[in-house]
Amino acid sequence: MPGLAENSLIYASLGGLYVGDMLVQLFFFVVLLLLLKKFAWGPVMNMMQKREEYVAGEIEAAEKSRKEAEAAAKEAQTQLNQVKQEAQKMIEDAKNTAVKQEQAIIEAARNEAERIKEQAQAEIQNEKEKAIQALQAQVASLSVMIASKVIEKEISEQDQEKLIEEYIKEVGEER
C-alpha cells in the first residue's frame, strides 16, 4: 500500500453524494448478486436441497424397511404358533390312537382268552362225558363179571340193574 492514512482525518471521503458512484454501486451490486446466485449460492443451495431430500428419502426407506421387518416378524410368529398348535394336535391324535389300539389289543386278547377257555372247558366236558360213557360201559360189564365171579349166585335182573346204577352214581360223584 503506497502510504497508509497518516496523521489526518479522512474528511475527504465525505464529499457529498456522487450520482456516478451510486450508479456504479447499484450496477456492481446487481451484477455481484447475479454472479453469486449463479456461481456460488445457487449451487450450494441446490446441494443442501439435494442433501435434505436424500436424508428424507433415507429416513423414509428406513421406516419402510422397519415396517416390513415388523410384519415379517409378526408373520413368523403366527406361523410358529400355528406349527406349535399343529404339533400339539398331532401328539394328541397319536396319544388317542395309541389308547384306542391298546384297548383294542386288550379286548382282542381277552376275547381270545375267553374263547380258548371256553374251548378248553368244552373239550374237558366232552372228555369227561366220553370217559363217563366208557367207564359206564366197562363198569357194567366189569361189575357183572365181578358179581358173577364173587357171588356166584343168581341174582335177579332187577337187582343187578339197581346195583349198577348205584355203582355209577358213586363213581360219578367221587370224581
Binding site: M1, P2, G3, L4, A5, E6, N7, S8, L9, I10, Y11, A12, S13, L14, G15, G16, L17, Y18, V19, G20, D21, M22, V24, Q25, L26, F28, F29, V31, L32, L33, L35, L36, K37, F39, A40, W41, G42, P43, V44, M45, N46, M47, M48, K50, R51, Y54
Partner: protein, 240 residues
C-alpha cells in the same frame, strides 16, 4: 493536512454525472473479493460437506435464520440471494476499511465503500424499491395501497414519511457507524505516529478500537440485512 478524494466531475459532459474514483475502485475491489471468496467456497460441492462448503452452508443457514425471523419462508426464499449478497458485500466492505486506509498522492483511495453515504443510501434505496416492487407483485396493487390506510386513514402521511425515513436511517446507520470508526482509526493513527509518547499512548486504544470496529462491522452487516428483510416483509406479508 486533509486528504482529498479523487473526484471526476461532469463525465461525458453530463453535468450531474460525477464520480468519486476511490468509491468506484473500492466497489470493484469489494465485489471482486466477495465473488472470489464465494466461488472458492462453492467449489467442489459434495454430499458430505468439508472445509469451505461448511462455511458457506453455515452462512446460508445464518441468513436463512434472519429471513425466517421476519417472514414466511415460502416468500422469504425469494430474497435469500439478495440477503446473502447484502450481508457478504457489506461485511467485506466494512472489514476492508478496518484493515487499512490507503492514501495516494493526497487522495484517499483505499477505505470502506460503506463509509460513503452515497453508497449506503444506494443500497438502502435499492432495498426499499425492491420492497415496494415485491409488495405490489406478490400481493397486488389493491392490497399494497390499502396498507397505507390501515389501521387508520389518518396515518397515511405518517406512513408516507416512514418510507423515506426508513431509507435514510437504513443507509445512514451503516454509513455513520463505519465512517465514525474510520475517523477514529485515522485519529489514532495520527496519534501513534506523532512520536514515542504518542505511540505508547495510542497503540493500545488503536488495537482496541480496531477490534471494536471489526465487531461493529459484523454487527452492522447483520443489522442492515435484518432490517432490509424486515422492511421487505412489511410490504410482502399479509400481517405485520
Amino acid at each position: 493536512m486533509d486528504h482529498t478524494a479523487p473526484i471526476v466531475e461532469d463525465v461525458f459532459g453530463i453535468s450531474w454525472l460525477d464520480f468519486n474514483l476511490s468509491n468506484v475502485f473500492m466497489i470493484i475491489v469489494t465485489s471482486l473479493i466477495v465473488f472470489v471468496i464465494s466461488v472458492l467456497g462453492a467449489r467442489k460441492l459434495e454430499m458430505k460437506p468439508t472445509g469451505g462448503q461448511n462455511v458457506m452452508e453455515w452462512v446460508l443457514d445464518f441468513i436463512k435464520g434472519i429471513i425466517n425471523d421476519t417472514m414466511d419462508w415460502k416468500t422469504g426464499k425469494l430474497f435469500l440471494p439478495l440477503a446473502i449478497t447484502l450481508f457478504s458485500y457489506i461485511l467485506v466492505g466494512n472489514m476492508l476499511g478496518v484493515i487499512t486506509n490507503g492514501v495516494v498522492g493526497g487522495d484517499v483511495w483505499w477505505k470502506s465503500p460503506t463509509a460513503d453515504p452515497g453508497l449506503t443510501l444506494t443500497l438502502a434505496m435499492m432495498v426499499i424499491v425492491l420492497s415496494h416492487f415485491y409488495g405490489i407483485k406478490l400481493r397486488g396493487g389493491k392490497a399494497y395501497v390499502k396498507d397505507y390506510f390501515t389501521p387508520l386513514p389518518l396515518l397515511f402521511p405518517i406512513k408516507l414519511i416512514e418510507e423515506f425515513s426508513n431509507t435514510l436511517t437504513l443507509g445512514l446507520r451503516l454509513f455513520g457507524n463505519i465512517y465514525a470508526g474510520e475517523v477514529l482509526l485515522a485519529l489514532l493513527v495520527g496519534l501513534t505516529t506523532s512520536g514515542a509518547l504518542g505511540f505508547i499512548g495510542g497503540a493500545i486504544p488503536f488495537l482496541a478500537w480496531q477490534g471494536f470496529s471489526v465487531f461493529i462491522g459484523g454487527i452492522q452487516a447483520f443489522i442492515f440485512t435484518m432490517l432490509s428483510m424486515v422492511y421487505i416483509s412489511h410490504k410482502v406479508s399479509e400481517e405485520h
